[in-house]
C-alpha cells in the first residue's frame, strides 16, 4: 500500500527521542510509588495546573483531533459546539458544585461515590460497565492508531500496536497515575508544538479569516445563526437539541461522571486545586478549536473536493495539510504529537480501568482485607491484563471494523443516565438508594430501546438522534429515580454527611486573592465563553 508520507531519518530520531523520554519518566517516577494511594491517586499531591492540563488532554486523543478536523471540514464552525457549549459549562459545574463532594468524601473512584451515596448494587452496575467499556475503548483507539499509521507512513499493523502497547505498559506499570498524568501534560504541549504551524501557515496563505471564509460555503463561520431550523444547517440539528442534548446531558454526563477525567481531579493536592482542575482545563479547552477546527476549514478552502472524491475522505483533512506544509523534521514532530496523543489516551483508559478493577471489583467482591502492597501489585497486574485485552480488542476490531462504530455508540448510552443519578444524589437528599439504582437501570435500558426500536428517520440526522436520545434517557432516569424515592426508605442523614448538598460545609476561600479562587476563575471563563458565542454567532 502506498503511504501518504515518506518519513526520513530525522523524523525517526524525533519519534525515538519521545519513546526514550516517556520510558525514562516511568523509571524516574517508579521510586515515588510506595503505597496504593501513590499508584492509583498520585498520592493526592499534584498541583492544579498539571491536573488541569491532564484533565483536558485525557480527552484530547489523536482520534478526536483527526475526527474533529474532519467535522470542521464537513460542518464548519458548528463543530465548535462540541468544545464550547458541549464542554465548558459542564467543566465549570464540576469544579464549582460537584468537586467538594467528590474530593472531600475521599472516594478513590466514581463507583465508590455511588456506593457511599446509594448502595452496593448501584456501584456494581457502574463499576462493571465502566471497566468493560474502558478497556474496550482502549483497544478501539489502539486499532485506530495502527490503522492511521499504516495509511500515513506505512507501518505494519502489528508494529504500531506492539510498540505503543509495550511503551504504555512500561510507563503506566512503573509510575501509575502520576506517569499517566505527566505524559498527558507533555502530550498537551507536544500537540501544540506539532500542529500549531498548520493553522498559522494555512490562515496566512489564505489571507486571514475573511480570506478563508470567502472560499467556504455560506454559514460555515457561524455557530447559532442557522440552528433555527434543522434543515438549514449541514449537521441537521436544531438549537434545542444542541442545548439540551449536547450542552446539558451529553456534556455533563461525560465531564462530570466519567472516571477517566474525574480521576485527574482526585489526584490534586487539596480541595482548591481539585476545584481549579476542571476550571483551568476550561481555559485551555476554549482554544483547542484553533488546533482542530480551523485546520478543517483550511483543508476545505484549499481542497474544495474533500469528502466528495474517492481518495480524499474528510478524515484525511489533517494528514493532507501535514503533507502539504511539513518538510522532514516538522513531519517527525507532527507524527510524534499524534503518537503521543494516542498513547496517552490509551494510558488514561488503562489507569482508570486499573483503579476501578482493583478498588471497586477486586477489593469489593474478591479480596476485601489484603495489605496495601497486595493491591498495588494487583494494580500492576491489572495494567498488564488491561493492555493485553486492549491488544486483543484491536485485532478483533481489525477483523470486524463495523462492530467498532456500533460499540462506541452503545457506550454513549451509559453516561447520560449516570448524570441523572449523580445530579439527584448530590443535590436532593431525599433520593433513596433503590430509587437511584432503578432510575439508573431504567435510563440505560431506555437508551438501548430507543436506539433499537425507533426507526432512524425519527430524527433529522444521526447527531440529532444522539442528542435527543441522551436527553430522554436522562429524563427517564430522573423521573424514575424521583418516583421510586418517594416510596422507598431513605438513608439516615448521618450517613450522607459530606456527600449531599445542604449536608456539607461549603469551602470558604475568602482569604485568597481572586486569581486563586475557583468561583472568580469560573466566572471569567463563563464571560469569555459568552463572548466567543456572540463573536461567532
Amino acid at each position: 500500500m502506498h503511504a501518504l508520507f515518506h518519513a526520513s531519518a530525522v523524523d525517526y530520531i524525533i519519534i525515538a527521542l519521545y519513546f526514550v523520554f516517556v520510558i525514562g519518566v516511568g523509571f524516574v517516577l517508579r521510586s515515588r510509588v510506595r503505597t496504593g494511594e501513590d499508584f492509583f491517586l498520585s498520592g493526592r499531591s499534584i498541583p492544579a495546573w498539571i491536573t488541569g492540563l491532564a484533565f483536558l488532554s485525557a480527552n484530547l486523543g489523536a482520534l478526536e483531533i483527526m475526527g474533529m478536523t474532519a467535522s470542521g471540514a464537513e460542518y464548519g464552525m458548528l463543530t465548535t459546539h462540541f468544545y464550547w457549549i458541549g464542554a465548558i459549562p459542564a467543566m465549570l459545574f464540576l469544579g464549582i458544585y460537584m468537586m467538594p463532594f467528590y474530593y472531600v468524601s475521599k472516594v478513590r473512584s466514581v463507583p465508590e461515590y455511588l456506593k457511599l451515596r446509594y448502595n452496593e448494587a448501584t456501584r456494581a452496575v457502574n463499576a462493571i460497565a465502566f471497566a468493560v467499556m474502558t478497556v474496550l475503548t482502549s483497544g478501539i483507539s489502539l486499532y485506530s492508531m495502527a490503522l492511521i499509521f499504516q495509511i500515513l507512513i506505512g507501518w505494519s499493523f502489528t508494529t504500531s500496536i506492539l510498540i505503543s502497547a509495550v511503551v504504555v505498559l512500561v510507563y503506566v506499570g512503573l509510575g501509575g497515575l502520576t506517569s499517566s498524568i505527566f505524559n498527558e501534560v507533555v502530550q498537551f504541549f507536544l500537540i501544540w508544538a506539532g500542529l500549531l504551524p498548520i493553522p498559522l501557515i494555512g490562515m496566512h496563505s489564505l489571507g486571514g479569516w475573511n480570506g478563508m471564509m470567502a472560499r467556504l460555503p455560506q454559514g460555515f463561520g457561524h455557530l447559532w445563526q442557522n440552528l433555527g431550523n434543522p434543515s438549514h444547517n449541514p449537521m441537521g440539528i436544531g438549537w434545542l437539541g444542541v442545548v439540551l442534548g449536547l450542552g446539558f446531558v451529553l456534556s455533563f454526563g461525560y465531564w462530570t461522571t466519567d472516571f477517566l477525567v474525574v480521576q485527574r481531579t482526585l489526584a490534586a493536592k487539596d480541595l482548591r486545586a481539585a476545584q481549579n482542575t476542571p476550571i483551568y482545563a476550561a481555559f485551555f479547552k476554549m482554544i483547542v478549536p484553533i488546533l482542530v477546527i480551523i485546520p478543517g476549514l483550511i483543508a476545505l478552502a484549499i481542497y474544495p473536493k474533500i469528502g466528495h472524491s474517492p481518495n480524499m475522505s474528510y478524515n484525511l483533512a489533517l494528514p493532507l495539510l501535514i503533507a502539504k506544509y511539513y518538510p522532514p523534521g516538522m513531519l517527525g514532530l507532527g507524527l510524534t504529537a499524534m503518537l503521543a496523543s494516542f498513547m496517552s489516551g490509551m494510558a488514561g483508559n488503562v489507569t482508570a480501568f486499573t483503579t476501578v478493577w482493583t478498588y471497586d471489583i477486586y477489593q469489593a467482591y474478591i479480596r476485601k482485607d489484603a495489605s496495601d502492597r497486595h493491591y498495588v501489585n494487583m494494580g500492576r497486574w491489572a495494567v498488564v491484563v488491561g493492555v493485553i485485552i486492549s491488544i486483543g480488542t484491536a485485532y478483533f476490531a481489525a477483523g470486524f471494523p463495523s462492530v467498532m462504530d456500533y460499540m462506541q455508540t452503545l457506550f454513549s448510552f451509559f453516561n447520560a443516565p449516570l448524570f441523572g443519578t449523580f445530579l439527584l444524589g448530590m443535590f436532593w437528599k431525599r433520593t433513596t438508594p433503590w430509587g437511584g439504582f432503578w432510575g439508573l437501570i431504567c435510563g440505560i435500558v431506555s437508551a438501548f430501546l430507543m436506539y433499537f426500536l425507533l426507526p432512524a428517520s425519527t430524527f433529522t440526522s444521526p447527531d440529532a438522534g444522539n442528542f435527543w436520545r441522551a436527553w430522554w434517557a436522562w429524563f427517564i432516569t430522573v423521573a424514575v429515580t424521583v418516583l421510586i424515592s418517594l416510596f422507598t426508605k431513605r438513608r439516615p442523614v448521618e450517613e450522607l454527611q459530606g456527600l449531599v448538598y445542604g449536608l456539607s460545609k461549603r469551602p470558604d476561600y475568602s482569604g485568597y486573592p481572586w486569581y486563586k479562587r475557583p468561583g472568580y476563575l469560573a466566572g471569567i471563563v463563563f464571560v469569555i465563553l459568552v463572548g466567543l458565542n456572540i463573536a461567532f454567532w
Binding site: R32, V185, A193, K324, P327, G329
Partner: protein, 70 residues
C-alpha cells in the same frame, strides 16, 4: 534535594523541548528542507521557538523556590 528536580514536570518538559528545539533547528540549518508550497525554513524557525520554550521551562524549574515542591 537535587534528585527531586526529576520529579518536577517543568524540568522534564524543559528537557524534552530543548532537545527537540536543537534537533529541529540544527537539521533545518544544515539541510534547509523545503516543501513545494512553503518557501521558508520552517524547521529552523520552529526549532528555535521550541528551544526558547524549553529553556523557559528549565529556567522556571531551576529558579523555583526550594520549598515550592512539585
Amino acid at each position: 534535594m537535587q534528585s527531586s528536580r526529576w520529579f518536577d514536570l517543568r524540568f522534564l518538559i524543559g528537557i524534552l523541548f530543548t532537545v527537540y528545539g536543537i534537533v529541529l533547528a540544527v537539521y533545518g540549518a544544515v539541510s534547509d528542507p523545503r516543501t513545494p508550497s512553503l518557501h521558508w525554513n520552517i524547521d529552523l524557525w520552529w526549532g528555535l521557538v521550541s528551544l526558547v520554550f524549553g529553556l523557559l521551562f528549565l529556567i522556571v524549574s531551576i529558579a523555583r523556590r526550594p520549598n515550592d515542591e512539585a
